[in-house]
């Protein structure tokens, strides 16, 4: 080859290499532009998405669950900030400081190691939930590898067991699972917010993008309950349990004028702040969820049927001699031969013979109709989870004895709160109202429904007042300074083979004060032991002690002084 041709070849080669390099550079530039600007295949959007997947996280912002308050604004359930400690097992499991961590958390190091091994392929595991912020701060400051804290709320109940069964419970994730907490979940629940942030290699937040959803805290719920009354009921019920040796009991106090439930207590109780020792038998709000045969407390409604029939007035005479009566194959007894007595006396003395004669005269259909009208066999309207409506008999064929026993409260069942609601009709001049656990504004009072005439309601009230007067079955229900009315009930408990001879349920439902009837309280004592098992001995004294406090706390004016003299008006003292 010649020099010239060699020179031209090397020149050409030089030019070719330059061109190739330029083409490569151009290709890179085009690719760069494609990645940055266009979105074909693995373009800009794809890369951004992949980048975000590796760095951007969303975190929950916990929301405050609404407060539950009583009618005076005293908090009954409060959500308090706590910290749940969690760990990334992959970072923690081989740490030499495991022993130290286990010690600080007061857990067994072997258990911790086993748990870490179990979750070894996961990146999240709870170490200890709901720890106090101070304690959690100490653990977090010690900087164990992979150990983090998560803010949460925990529910506390300042009144403890006094309000436990009404309020119910929330689960560990803060959802209502029983009682008021469950019934008003939508109102109380806070909706957690979301925020986005960029994390670094260790999962720490380096930059916040801001809040996507603001957390929405739950709303405050004002209940109709009065904590002071709640406490009084609780105390008196406990005392009654001690004194009678009963296994269970319930008390309900209503404001008949509005349908508000002022207090509900039950025994046995539980401590809602100590979850580990939770006893589900004690968690039941028996006054609402358990049905009992109401016994003689139903005689009042039989009286309503008798008065409505037009064939009886309070003074009509009924001959109850010789103190017993045969119905079908059964013989019903009075404690003694009362002889001829008025309809009013029949109820005051709770005479079986007298009531049997009333029932036979008016017929069971009329009585059943009254029971239906007074709200038995239907919900009371509280919306309480697990509320029972009770059962009224629906028989195709009524035997003679069934027609009569209905009149004294056997063969049907009802909850204590249903009985209280039925008696509230008499305090309301014949109007039945739905009940509520929520505090009502004065103008929110539900209208209610007239179920009996004013005259009949007043007549019944007169009789109920006589029941607590000397000669009646419930003199122990008396409240100093006030006249009260009510009706006792003593029911044989049902065992596997029918009614038990030696186990009873004692009941008392009362209205106070008679001059301006407003507060209705039902007391149930389940299985009182010893001789004092009847409604008049086991339940009426509880009613008296609770009602005394109800009237004092609700600021009701005493009607008479100790001596029985009427308190006069303005400034005149007895």
């Amino acid at each position: 080859m010649t020099d010239t041709s060699q020179a031209s070849l090397s020149k050409w080669r030089y030019g070719f290499v330059c061109l190739m390099l330029a083409v490569l550079a151009a290709l890179l530039a085009v690719r760069l532009v494609m990645l940055q600007l266009t979105d074909g295949g693995s373009g800009a959007a794809f890369l951004r998405e992949q980048g975000a997947l590796r760095t951007i996280r969303t975190a929950e912002i916990p929301a405050y669950r609404g407060l539950i308050e009583d009618r005076n604004g005293t908090p009954l359930a409060v959500s308090s900030p706590v910290v749940s400690l969690w760990a990334n097992p992959q970072l923690l499991k081989d740490s030499p400081r495991l022993g130290e961590l286990a010690e600080q958390l007061s857990i067994d190091p072997i258990t911790l190691r086993e748990k870490l091994a179990f979750y070894g392929d996961k990146q999240f595991m709870y170490l200890a939930r709901h720890q106090s912020p101070d304690f959690a701060r100490r653990i977090l400051q010690a900087q164990f590898p992979g150990v983090k804290g998560e803010r949460e709320y925990r529910r506390y109940y300042p009144a403890g067991e006094v309000t436990a069964q009404v309020l119910g419970l929330t689960n560990v994730d803060g959802q209502g699972i029983a009682g008021v907490e469950m019934a008003f979940e939508d109102w109380l629940r806070g909706v957690a917010g979301k925020k986005r942030f960029i994390k670094d290699l260790h999962g720490e937040m380096v930059r916040d993008f801001g809040v996507i959803d603001e957390p929405r805290p739950g709303k405050t719920l004002a209940l109709s309950l009065d904590l002071r009354l709640q406490y009084v009921q609780h105390r008196e019920l406990q005392r009654a349990m001690r004194e009678t040796g009963a296994v269970a009991g319930s008390a309900v106090t209503l404001d008949a004028w509005t349908g508000e439930v002022l207090a509900i207590s039950n025994y046995p109780v539980f401590n809602p702040n100590a979850r580990s020792t939770l006893d589900y038998g004690g968690a039941r709000n028996r006054a609402v969820t358990d049905v009992y045969e109401p016994g003689s407390t139903i005689k009042t409604l039989t009286l309503v049927a008798a008065l409505e029939s037009g064939r009886f007035s309070l003074d009509s005479l009924i001959d109850t001699s010789p103190g017993r009566i045969r119905v079908g194959s059964k013989v019903l007894h009075d404690p003694r031969n009362y002889g001829e007595m008025t309809v009013s006396n029949v109820i005051e003395k709770s005479s079986q013979v007298g009531v049997t004669k009333l029932a036979q005269a008016v017929g069971h259909e009329a009585i059943l109709d009254v029971l239906h009208r007074f709200g038995l066999g239907e919900d009371t309207g509280t919306g309480f989870p697990g509320e029972r409506a009770g059962v009224l008999p629906e028989l195709a064929h009524w035997s003679d004895i069934e027609k009569v026993t209905l009149a004294f409260g056997y063969g049907l069942n009802a909850t204590p709160i249903q009985l209280a609601r039925a008696y509230a009709v008499f305090a309301n001049a014949g109007v039945l109202r739905p009940l509520t656990l929520l505090k009502l504004d004065p103008d929110q009072t539900p209208k209610g429904e007239r179920v009996v005439s004013v005259d009949v309601a007043e007549d019944v009230l007169t009789v109920l007042a006589r029941v607590t007067e000397p000669g009646g079955t419930a003199t122990l229900a008396q409240v100093p300074g006030f006249s009260v009315g009510g009706k006792t009930g003593t029911v044989h408990k049902v065992g596997e083979a029918g009614y038990l001879d030696d186990q009873y349920v004692a009941l008392f439902v009362g209205i106070a004060p008679i001059s301006e009837p407003r507060y209705v309280t039902a007391i149930l004592v389940d299985q009182p032991r010893g001789d004092h098992y009847g409604g008049g001995l086991a339940a009426a004294p509880v009613y008296s002690r609770i009602t005394e406090e109800v009237l004092r706390i609700r600021n009701v004016r005493p009607e008479r002084s100790d001596a029985g003299a009427l308190l006069a008006h303005a400034g005149v003292t007895p």
Binding site: Y64, T74, G481
Partner: protein
């Protein structure tokens, strides 16, 4: 075409100044965001701690003022009794 009121070099210089100014503004606003974010974090922490304290105090006051406790102190330490009816006077408002 009407000559532009500013000669090309002047407008270029103005644009260059504007560019520098906007750059500095960006630096400043980024700094502000960082500082603001740090403040936000501190405030959020404070809010959390205040809420912590508030609920703790709320629980505390209700524990101290529980009817049970008041009843006990009144009857045991202060020898108080519920007023008897004979000692009560009704005052008409």
């Amino acid at each position: 075409m009407r000559p532009s009121p500013l000669s090309p070099p002047v407008s270029v210089i103005l644009l260059a100044f504007a560019l520098v100014a906007s750059g500095l503004a960006l630096v400043w606003s980024t700094h502000e965001v960082r500082a603001g974010y740090a403040r936000l974090q501190v405030l959020e922490l404070q809010r959390w701690q205040l809420q912590e304290e508030y609920t703790r105090l709320l629980l505390e006051i209700n524990t101290w003022a529980a009817p049970h406790r008041i009843n006990q102190i009144a009857s045991e330490n202060l020898s108080m009794l519920p007023p008897e009816l004979s000692l009560s006077r009704v005052i008409e408002q």
